[in-house]
Amino acid sequence: MIRSMRWATGAAGVALALYGGWLLVTREDRLGDVALWLVAGVVLHDAVLAAIVVVLGALAVRLAPAPARAPLAVGFVMLGPVTLLAVPVLGRFGARADNPTLLDRDYTAGWLVLAGITTVAVVGATLVRSRRGSGKG
């Protein structure tokens, strides 16, 4: 029963994806650019971003004192994704001189506030943990 439901669900997933592929090739002319973006997303994540995170993790374990490691990890999980999310607004790529209501915040200041709160929280948690004399988290 479970087995046949799994097969049916899997087949439904394949059908939905094929429908999307059909929509794409029949309605969009610039397929080369679409393919470039699809492939670039995977390559940028798997070969660049993930590798950077591995290297940063290794550096943190080697350089950071034990009580700081867990707070650093939490701070990184919080600030890393939100920084990636903020790339379009930090770069202000879509800004237009004729529309002052678009991208109308100081995003650098906003990001610095988030980074500042994260830093204070990481330092605070590190101090608390080292005073307790515990490096485990």
Binding site: G13, D33, D46, A73, V77, P81, D98, N99, G110, V113
Partner: protein, 383 residues
């Protein structure tokens, strides 16, 4: 530097027990994002075999706000989920033809899933900030790839169902589903990593959701709009960008309302002399931002009555704008007949500003902003 092996990744945090829990919420976000995206796509279609509802007036504001919020929350969830399974990218090929074939198929399906998921989030985020660093049509491509993404999610759930059930049915620290090499404790506990992930998703949402949720405007430091604008409402496309500054301010401006041979031409003073209605209606854009406004103008139904357009007729609304995908829009019969649908002449008690569509614009309940045509030149029954 050599390519790593699966066994090089030794942290117990990179475990299916974590993946399944993050994946559950990622799946929920993708599901909500997909369904609200379908609503938005349908609302923008010219053909409505099933009428799109005109109530509640805030309906599209909520669905499109949810679309952007769930898409935003999905970014940290997807990144953490991919982090937990990254070692599997480097696993050795299976032995035996049958197992090898299954392995290749699974890798292929995950490749499609990752490519489409990253594409959806990246293109959606860029669109929200009106950044278009590509040559393809955003709407067509975002819609088509959404089906590929949701199809690969459904397939992935079917393939992984035994692992998901095993992981969610036991304690998060259970090692039963761990890779053999994953034996070293991480710097966080698994519960700690999960809490950090929920925190990251929450921060991402709060930092951006003010574009759709006014009480959050002050804390949404990364929101694409602060919510300020002329007459208290932001502008999506300015009069300068639409190249209507000259035509919209001409003294011989006339709104033409036409039904076959019957037509009337009305100046702005003529329109102001007709009975006026005032309505509180949101403007809610496909980019996710929305804002409430107090609009005053002539009911569209009253204008259509001037040329005896029957109830329930779809009408075409044409802007002074000379080019662009939404220069002419269909105002469906149920929207045209709704008491709240106005040809607005004023916003917040003052004449419409040029950027809000002076001399006259459409404002209707429960509708994407791109269809709330500005600088209206003609309202007509299509031939």
């Amino acid at each position: 530097m050599r390519i790593p092996d699966e066994a090089d990744f030794r942290s117990r945090l990179r475990s299916a027990a974590v993946t399944a829990r993050v994946g559950l919420w990622l799946g929920i976000c993708f599901g909500v994002c997909f369904l609200t995206g379908l609503v938005s796509h349908y609302a923008q279609n010219a053909a409505h075999p099933v009428p799109f509802p005109t109530s509640p007036a805030w309906g599209y504001r909520v669905t499109q706000g949810l679309h952007v919020v769930t898409g935003t929350a999905a970014v940290p969830l997807l990144l953490v989920k991919l982090w937990t399974v990254y070692p599997r990218l480097f696993r050795r090929p299976e032995r035996g033809w049958r197992n090898l074939l299954l392995d290749v198929l699974e890798r292929g399906s995950v490749l499609v899933l990752v490519a489409s998921a990253v594409f959806m989030l990246a293109s959606g985020l860029a669109n929200s900030a009106q950044w278009y660093p590509w040559s393809f049509s955003f709407r067509t491509t975002h819609y088509a790839v959404a089906w590929i993404a949701i199809g690969s999610v459904v397939l992935h759930v079917a393939v992984k169902l035994p692992v998901v059930r095993g992981a969610l049915g036991s304690d998060v620290d259970d090692a039963a589903l761990d890779r053999p090499a994953a034996t070293e404790p991480g710097v966080l506990t698994r519960r700690g990593l999960l809490r950090a992930t929920w925190l990251a998703a929450g921060v991402a949402v709060v930092a951006t959701a003010g574009i759709a949720v006014p009480p959050l405007r002050r804390v949404s430091v990364l929101g694409v709009r602060s919510g300020r604008g002329p007459q208290g409402v932001p502008v999506n496309k300015s009069a300068v960008a639409a190249r209507v500054t000259a035509s919209a301010t001409r003294s011989d401006y006339r709104l033409v309302v036409a039904n076959g041979d019957r037509q009337v031409a009305l100046s702005r003073p003529d329109l102001l002399a007709l009975p006026q209605s005032t309505r509180e209606l949101p403007i809610a854009c496909v980019e996710g931002w929305s804002a409430g406004g107090t609009w005053t103008g002539v009911r569209v139904r009253d204008l259509l009555d001037l040329v005896d357009v029957p109830a329930g007729t779809d009408v075409l609304v044409t802007s002074l704008q000379e080019s662009g995908p939404f220069t002419t829009t269909v105002l469906h019969g149920n929207f045209a007949d709704d008491d709240r649908t106005l040809l607005a002449l004023a916003l917040d008690g003052e004449p419409l500003s040029l950027d809000h569509g002076f001399p006259a614009r459409v404002i209707a309940p429960d509708r994407p902003g791109v269809l709330q045509t500005k600088w209206v030149a003609r309202i007509e029954v299509p031939a």
